[in-house]
Amino acid sequence: MLTRRVAGPAQQVGLAIWARAAGTLAPPRNTEFALLQDSDLAVFDSILGSGGVITDPHEVDPYNRDWMGKYRGRGRCVLRPRSTAQVSALLRHCSARRLAVVPQGGNTGLVGGSVPVHDEVVLSTGLMTTLLGFDPGSGALTAQAGAVLATLEAAARERGHAMPLDLGASGSCAIGGNVATNAGGIRLLRHGPLHGSVLGLEVVLAGGQVLDLLSSLRKDNTGYDLKQLFIGSEGTLGVITAVAIQCPAASPATSLAYLAVPSFKAAQQAHGVLQAARQNLGELLSAFEFLDRESLEVAKQFLPGARDPLPGSDTVIPYTAQAPFFLVVEIAGSSEQHNAAMLEAFLESTMGEGRVLDGVVAQDSRQAGEIWALREGITEALRHRGAIYKYDLSFRVEEMYGVVGAARERLASAYPSGFLGGGAGSTAGSDTEHALKVVGYGHLGDGNVHLNISAPRYDAGLEALIEPWVYEFTAAHSGSISAEHGLGRMKAPCIGYSKPPEAVRLMRSIKAAFDPQGILNPYKVLPPE
């Protein structure tokens, strides 16, 4: 088994205490940062002109709140530049004044990384949405950082290509934020992480210097590959203002199957469905996702328009209605007929062996869209249900679901009634909408599980029960405490569970080299010293 160095026990104890105190509680404000003055607003106004600076508290509010409603900052002003030159001028002023800044794209992050912790100035890329170029020969797409992923996907599709990433938030998330957080999503299985598909970046450093790395060459081995540092830096090293990204040719034909499997083991292990898919569908395989029954139930109940593809009423196998796991398997190739033949042969053999209980094959794009909406809508459905404790973990594929079962056991023993004690939603009984619910879903092909604990409200006692236990569990199983969401504010104190002290020290010196005053997205990614 692979082992990974983790922080020693002594350090883990220290981290554990901090992690307990952290979570939704804010770390103290760094008093070295200046307070925003009216004179600063005047400078911002002069740089951005009318409409570029927002100070009305009602309009500022959405920029201060994260998507889950878990974190809320007290920023007083939002800057909305349109050009790299404006970003540069703004940062030059902020660094001269030592004003802390939070870069923000679509604000769809799930770890509190894109909103202020205290009174940081929000630098939104919301108006930087221009598609700067598309090279039909190579498929290289260049766009300003605020361009919305779905818009770029449509632009690439029109030209016979596709973006190398896709995620549930594609309708709102910005490409700059995707790169800054090294977003994963459902196409990672096929196209690999952004470290491979991002060709070039333009970044404005904390002092306002513009770093032009906006090459669209596939190969470029000249010195250190600095752009890699910004991919996944979560806005702490510089503000990404433009992105060049490799768009693969779009596959003309995609086919989708939704399968019920008897156990997680049957889905993944040696001779399981995943292995069979890798062997038999090979280069056609474009997504291999899973959801557990609890995820399906939440989606059915809280996602408008969602329906169960396998309602079980007409199935020939009665226990399908109780199947514990479901898979979404997509293949993409050049011919509809070839896809269909490959998929059918694969399904016939896995079903014949009993590794698949039942399933459906989308007969048209409407059905395929419905199945994707179900899988991708779980995150949103959970938000409609209430408070969410969200953990984005990766493990060896064989071990990835263990954490969900362990979390269920832990909660069941602490809350035998299944409900939080005291306050709203505490009454036990038939009101299952308020019950604690542990769900697991994610990218099975990549060993990435989204463990979500849904509760009627955020609760310190519940949080203390989950954290740092979940990080300890992950470290003990050689997993990563953040597979694709990043560390942000939520997990900054916990980096030691997945990275050794020497690596964290090196990261600190890199941060100091890029942003000596620490004004860019403070309190995020790295633990407090």
Partner: protein
């Protein structure tokens, strides 16, 4: 009671439709195709009638080239018992479709014909009505609810009309066309897809059915709708009033 349900292979509703440069029609090369959504609803309803005991057999019919056989298989995977494929490579217009279906209805001795209200490719909305006329049967189009009383030999059909809901009572045999809200078509499950491969499909030609399908209508040209001009952002109410008055001349 035997139900005949017609299914048409059309461009997937999500696919980008491209007009051929010579304006002679729509380019179908490398475009995703699938069953017309209203036909799917008709199949679902027919299968439900069988599951509910009102129908004894569901026969799915398609008219088109060899590839239309895939659409027929989808209908079989959804629960139709057997299929009939009228193999025809050329253009078949709504009147010809109605005549072919009438011939098959007689041959199969069907008591009920279920169709989609229209196909999303040419939006003709004529086939069901034409079929009822040719057979001399009562018709209920745009059905949003269907209840069959087998013993009374009648069907009660609810339709969404402008003012609300209208309910018709028809004497069987009859023709019913399906509207969007009649039902939610099921997914084709793996076991049913496999079973569908073994179901019987008859292949016939228009000639064998004695139907003349020579087109009666001439297609003049197909054009894309005019592109809408991009909008503009105005900076003030004053500017808006000015442009409404002087440019659009509406105030």
């Amino acid at each position: 009671m035997r139900v005949l349900v017609a299914v048409k292979r059309v461009i997937d509703y999500n696919a980008r439709v491209r007009v051929k440069p010579d304006k002679s029609g729509v380019d179908l090369k490398n475009v995703k195709m699938g069953m017309n959504p209203f036909c799917e609803i008709a199949v679902e309803e027919a299968v439900k009638l069988k599951e509910g005991g009102s129908a004894s057999e569901v026969v799915a019919v398609t008219i088109g080239p060899k590839a239309a056989g895939d659409t027929l298989r989808t209908a079989l995977a959804m629960g139709a018992d057997r299929g009939v494929h009228v193999l025809e490579d050329g253009e078949v217009q709504p009147l010809a479709v109605a005549k072919l279906l009438a011939a098959l209805t007689r041959r199969e001795e069907a008591t009920l014909c279920m169709l989609g209200k229209q196909a999303i490719d040419d939006d003709s909305n004529q086939t069901g009505q034409g079929l009822a006329g040719l057979l001399g049967w009562p018709q209920a189009t745009f059905a949003s609810k269907v209840v069959v009383d087998r013993e009374a030999g009648r069907a009660s059909v609810t339709r969404e009309v402008d003012g609300g809901l209208e309910t018709l009572s028809l004497k069987l045999p009859a023709v019913i066309t399906a509207d969007l809200r009649l039902n939610e078509p099921r997914y084709a499950t793996l076991p049913n897809i496999m079973k569908a491969k073994k179901k019987k499909v008859d292949t016939v030609t228009a000639q064998e059915l004695g139907v003349d399908i020579t087109p009666r209508l001439k297609l003049v040209k197909v054009e894309e709708p005019a592109k809408r001009q991009a909008g503009v952002m105005l900076s003030s109410v004053k500017e808006l009033v000015d442009r409404l008055r002087n440019e659009a001349k509406v105030i």
